[in-house]
Amino acid sequence: MMKLAKKDILGIEEMTADEISLILETAESFLEISTREIKKVPTLRGKSVINLFYEASTRTRTSFEIAGKRLSADTINIAASTSSAVKGETLLDTARTLEAMNPDIIVLRHSVAGTPHMLARMVKQSIINAGDGAHEHPSQALLDMMTIREKKGRIAGLKVAIVGDILHSRVARSNIYGLSRMGARVVVAGPATMMPRGIERMGVEAFTTIEDAIAGADVVMMLRIQLERQKQNIFPSLREYSHHYCLSRRHMKLTAPDAIVMHPGPINRGVEISPDIADDPACSVILDQVNHGVAVRMAMLYLLSGGNE
């Protein structure tokens, strides 16, 4: 018998290598369910999962919803447009309202970092962080690690380059924790305006050019550029950004020969990755990431179910 000794999954930072492996292995077993004619098992029958999204997200929300449904849980989507603060409520009021609905698991996405952590301290239900501000996005990092493991057979010893707006990226932070813990060497790259202070203390090497970062890399992970960041003057124009940071064919000569290319989606084609690379089945694993997303989220729901006795 094994067990994920956690009430909540709030971030990769607080997960051990064993816990990460447990989720990945469980997810690998779940992959097959999605290939069945009846893509559903009765495991979480009678359990309810609230997908509480304070920030628009079609992909992650849909993925969690499908994961819940394939496990026969009742999934309820709540698109909360305003924060508790705007309503004049405290988070505790929000927590009590949620508890009154008596769910088993709450999947929470919020634009403000730390909100899942605050809520987790207030409710007895399990909280899964589906992305909080620029902090963590554990399910994304787990599906990324699952994809790397499937394509490369391992994570330990690989060089992974993460390129783009590291400053605002929860995907980068979760992957830095997870990949480092699983034994990969992680490097990051982006313009200095997109590089958070003290990033080296997280155990990564930081570069300002894509070429320096991806040299010999086994995995290249490109981050999405939020167009509205242009207003904060962290980059002057998409044209200039893409000219210097868009992954294109010429870069693939610098990576390891069998390097894979990843992106958390949705892609700005021609901004982060050139279309010919994004659609090249020889290196692009972007669609595998989506597929693994459901399995990883099934594993998270499954392992957290049963409460924290």
């Binding site: 603060a85 405290t90 988070l91 403000v112 970092a113 929860r170 932070r173 958070p196």
Partner: protein
């Protein structure tokens, strides 16, 4: 009423006094301060051996929330918190609703303060109308109404030209100008100190230079115009360095810091506890050391707690939407005593930073036990161990990151104008 305080260690930095002696209070004034005073007829005698008797403590940076935010604090509850924390006088910032930018608000505050009849309250008037940084307020009129200083508090004057004019005009009126230094463009969107901890927590950062750029600017204005400036709640290494250099050049610059800036670092935000959210934000270890050095070498003249009481709906929300500030009046002295316990400040210097220095900066006739002075006295039990219980705060603001913290030493008697306004001796273990 006559009061005789007997047998305590009397520390009055204004008179360079630190000795065992007695203090006699008559008619609201200090009648005598010397050893072996015989109790006159009808005097109430307080035996205070083992205690410290100091000039009434002054907190020159508080927020009393009235008018406008009475659910956070009223002038009455804030006054009660002040005397319970050992403060006989406090200055309150103008960021009320409406802003204290005109005579009627100042008069309202003073009337409420008189009704509360606990601590002396000195309103600080706004520099600009609505603290919007555009149109200067009527400094002269505000002074006549009773303000002690000028500040736009958390909406610092971003317009350097306005700041220059305000400092010149205020100087001619002998009104101190207090600046909360924060370049709002550099701090825009920020929620905590920029650095490794913010990177790990994924919270937008406020760089130290947001504070330092404005400190530097205002020092330059003070030098150019020959006027004076007081810096509120200094939090960074760079600010301390700039102020130290300015003082060395004998510019008219003074500065304060708050207990949380020498007690806590940004690492305490690891749980996203909004009680640690303050403005300026908690900084790093190096900054904490620099603040302690600044206190020790006199660069920082005063300790003021930036008392910022909040209601639950202000604090118990998402980190970004949570209000900044700590309800500090009732923990300020206890936290500051650690500076003496750690050997950073000798007793008289700590008392100076909490009494005569703020009095000097605000031109108040306070902060001394000299014969004839107002009998504002704080009696401190220096060894009393206690733990912070926010539920027992007199302040309506229960927002303190120090809840549950064990402290050593606190005020046990607060005397304002010869009257005992707080007596905590009975409730102590």
């Amino acid at each position: 009423m006559k009061l005789l305080l007997k047998g305590a260690r009397v520390i009055d930095p204004a008179q360079n006094l630190d000795a065992l002696m007695d203090v006699l209070v008559e008619g609201g004034k200090i009648a005598a301060c010397k050893p072996g005073i015989k109790a006159p007829a009808g005097a109430k005698v307080l035996e205070l051996s083992g205690m410290l008797v100091t000039p009434g403590l002054i907190d020159m940076h508080t927020h009393l929330r009235e008018p406008g935010y009475e659910y956070r604090e009223t002038i009455a509850s804030g006054s009660a918190a002040a005397v319970a924390g050992g403060f006989t006088s406090i200055a309150c910032m103008p960021n009320t609703l409406p802003v204290n930018d005109n005579r009627s608000v100042t008069e309202f505050i003073l009337r409420k303060a008189a009704e509360a009849n606990l601590a002396n309250i000195y309103p600080i008037g706004a520099i600009s109308m609505g603290s919007e940084g555009k149109q200067m307020t009527e400094f002269w009129d505000l002074r006549e109404a009773g303000i002690a200083a000028l500040s736009d508090d958390g909406n610092p004057v971003m317009d350097a030209a306005l700041m220059r004019r305000a400092m010149e005009y205020a100087y001619s009126l002998e009104l101190p100008v207090i600046q909360h230094c924060e370049d709002k463009n550099l701090s825009a969107g920020g929620l905590m100190n920029e650095g490794y901890q913010a990177t790990v927590l994924g919270l937008p950062g406020i760089p130290a230079i947001a504070e330092e750029v404005m400190v530097a600017r205002d020092i330059l204005i003070a030098e150019y115009t020959g006027t004076r400036i007081h810096f509120a709640h200094v939090s960074t290494t760079g600010s301390v360095r700039l102020i130290r250099a300015a003082k060395k050049r004998r510019l008219k610059v003074t500065a304060e810091t708050a207990p949380h800036y020498f007690t806590l670092t940004d690492e305490s935000l690891r749980n996203y506890d909004t009680n640690y959210k303050v403005s300026p934000p908690l900084r790093g270890d190096a900054d904490v050391s620099a603040i302690k050095e600044g206190l020790a070498d006199g660069t920082l003249d005063a300790i003021a707690c930036d008392h910022a009481p909040h209601g639950r709906t202000d604090k118990e929300v998402e980190f970004e939407y949570a209000a900044c500030g700590i309800s500090g009046l009732e923990t300020s002295l206890g936290l500051s005593l650690s500076l003496v316990q750690e050997g950073i400040l000798p007793w008289p210097e700590l008392i100076a930073k909490m009494s005569c220095n703020p009095a000097r900066i605000l031109n108040l006739p306070k902060g001394t036990l000299a014969k004839g002075a107002d009998a504002d006295i704080t009696v401190i039990h220096p060894d009393l161990a206690w733990s912070v219980d926010v539920a027992a705060f007199h302040s309506l603001g229960k927002n303190s990151p120090f809840s549950g913290r064990k402290l050593k030493g606190r005020a046990v008697l607060t005397i304002v104008g010869g009257d005992i306004k707080y007596d905590g001796r009975a409730s102590q273990p």
